[in-house]
């Protein structure tokens, strides 16, 4: 019983921390994009606009929840929940430090891929249930995009699985720490690049934010949503960004560990707690997300699919073959 209670408390702590991070990621995003465009970003609410996310939350919470008359009511209402639940459930398998993980699954990596593939349904069904052409096209675009990039993502992660010999995220980090470079990003540079590009597409972020391209589709599958249901989609998108960032940190950048050759030169780095290393890596990836959004223009949809099928998937296969040969003859 006590164990069960402890589990609930742990889960709540993780969720609360992630939600706080999501709130302040929106703030960081507005600030960084503002700087990139020579503006100040939010400045009015609190010192340097620090209370802006809270003000936004209060505003969106009290708005009217509009449901279109001709929509499929039940699916329209449940779609944001599907997306959010199957995104947040990924947090349970992510090891934040060596001994803090909610569920130490043997197949953690596959679990993340599986729940990501179910979260797509929320988006497709949201587009369909809204009974609007913009929403519907946005939903279909999102589905085909996520389906094609999931293959590239899985291929790049397959290289990691092959090199470490485990599907458990914790074992992957430990196996990684024991290699010469200490991170898989150096020997598997092709897989790393494929992973980054696929992660951008998988979370529907710029430059692959075709499902919500303002110039063509108003807001894509979000068009008919308002108030809190919109906020749920928004939340799911940012949580998915954090999942991808942590996956990148765990599978390619060594998670909570530092490469041995670095600690060999600077021994004092041993004292830094693992959680801090993990956080730094995740924040760097989130910063990359925002940076890319501020600098790159959006791709056309055929370009997007061409990149996925003609560049990333062959590159992922080549990476996998190289890793297989290295593993066999090393």
């Amino acid at each position: 019983m006590l164990e069960f209670l402890l589990m609930i408390i742990k889960t709540m702590i993780v969720f609360a921390i992630v939600l706080a991070h999501v709130a302040y990621t929106t703030y960081a995003e507005r600030k960084i994009i503002g700087r990139a465009q020579a503006r100040m970003g939010p400045m009015e609410v609190g010192p340097h606009g620090l209370l802006q996310p809270i003000a936004d939350f209060i505003k969106i919470f009290f708005k009217e929840d509009i449901i279109p008359v001709k929509s499929e009511k039940f699916i329209f209402q449940i779609a944001p929940l599907i997306v959010l639940v199957f995104t947040m459930v990924n947090l349970t398998v992510i090891p934040f430090t060596a001994n803090f993980v909610l569920a130490d699954l043997n197949i953690g990596l596959l679990f993340i891929l599986a729940s990501a593939s179910i979260a797509v349904y929320g988006i497709i069904l949201a587009g369909w249930a809204s009974n609007s052409k913009y929403s519907f096209l946005g939903g279909l675009r999102s589905a085909s995009q996520v389906l094609s990039y999931e293959i590239a993502l899985a291929l790049s992660l397959a290289g990691v699985v092959l090199a470490s010999g485990s599907l458990n995220l914790k074992d992957i980090v430990i196996a990684q720490h024991n290699t010469i470079f200490g991170i898989y990003a150096i020997p598997q540079i092709i897989g790393f690049v494929v992973f980054i590009v696929a992660a951008f597409a998988e979370t529907n972020r710029a430059p692959f934010d075709l499902p919500e391209a303002e110039t063509e589709l108003v807001a894509g599958y979000l068009t008919e949503y308002s108030a809190f249901r919109y906020a749920l989609f928004f939340l799911a998108e940012y949580v998915a960004m954090y999942i991808m960032a942590s996956l990148c940190a765990l599978c390619f950048l060594g998670g909570w560990t530092v490469p041995k050759f670095i600690t060999h030169i600077f021994p004092f780095l041993h004292k830094v707690p693992g959680l801090l290393w993990f956080a730094i890596k995740v924040y760097a990836f989130i910063f990359l997300y925002i940076w890319v959004r501020a600098t790159f223009p959006r791709y056309r949809f055929d370009q997007l699919l061409n990149i996925g099928w003609k560049v990333l998937i062959p590159a992922g296969i080549i990476n996998l073959i190289i890793i297989a040969f290295v593993k066999k003859f090393h």
Binding site: E72, I75, L105, N106, I107, L110, F111, L113, A114, S115, A116, S117, I118, V120, Y121, I124, L125, W128, F136, L140, A143, S144, L147, E150, L167
Partner: protein, 172 residues
């Protein structure tokens, strides 16, 4: 405890399968099939087949069902089909039932009580399901595995050829 969970999964699988084939709206029936696939994954987990459970979700729920959804959207079935279908004839219903019963009996007959192979539950629990599955698949069933790969390659090439013909208006 395990029995209760099993009963829950079994009942929900059957109920959602029944719900899926009785819905008028195809998108709703697809939703029920999704629920069924998720519960099938749960049943695999109960049998210590963790790898199979996740692959069930990724392949069936994540890829194949989305393809079905695309087909439904492409055909744009606003109203349900009202014509008499194949199953409205009594003789075809009878044949259908006999056919299903045949497979049910085949399944019952092939059931072996207390079957013991090399791969006992203890071994799988110790080694990890993914590892054991990989060892068996790539050692004992390598040839069927390769043939399956070729079979899957054929429709892939077929789709490519169809798309290419459409692009060049049939004049290869």
């Amino acid at each position: 405890m395990v029995k209760i969970i099993f009963v829950y999964f079994a009942i929900l699988i059957i109920a959602s399968a029944l719900a899926a084939i009785t819905r008028k709206n195809l998108v709703y029936s697809l939703f029920w099939i999704l629920l069924m696939f998720i519960h099938l994954g749960g049943l695999y987990l109960l049998l210590n087949a963790e790898f199979l459970a996740m692959v069930q979700l990724i392949v069936y729920a994540g890829a194949i069902l989305v393809m079905f959804l695309f087909v439904i959207f492409l055909l744009n079935l606003k109203e349900e089909i009202k014509e008499a279908v194949f199953l409205h004839k009594w003789s075809s219903r009878l044949y259908g039932i006999l056919f299903l019963l045949f497979f049910a009996f085949l399944g019952v007959w092939s059931f072996k009580n207390n079957f013991k192979g090399i791969y006992s539950i203890e071994l799988i629990e110790k080694e990890g399901h993914t590892k054991v599955l990989g060892t068996v698949l790539f050692n004992e069933y390598l040839f069927p595995f390769l043939i399956l790969g070729f079979i899957l390659l054929v429709p892939l090439l077929g789709v490519g050829i169809v798309a290419l013909r459409r692009k060049t208006n049939g004049t290869t």
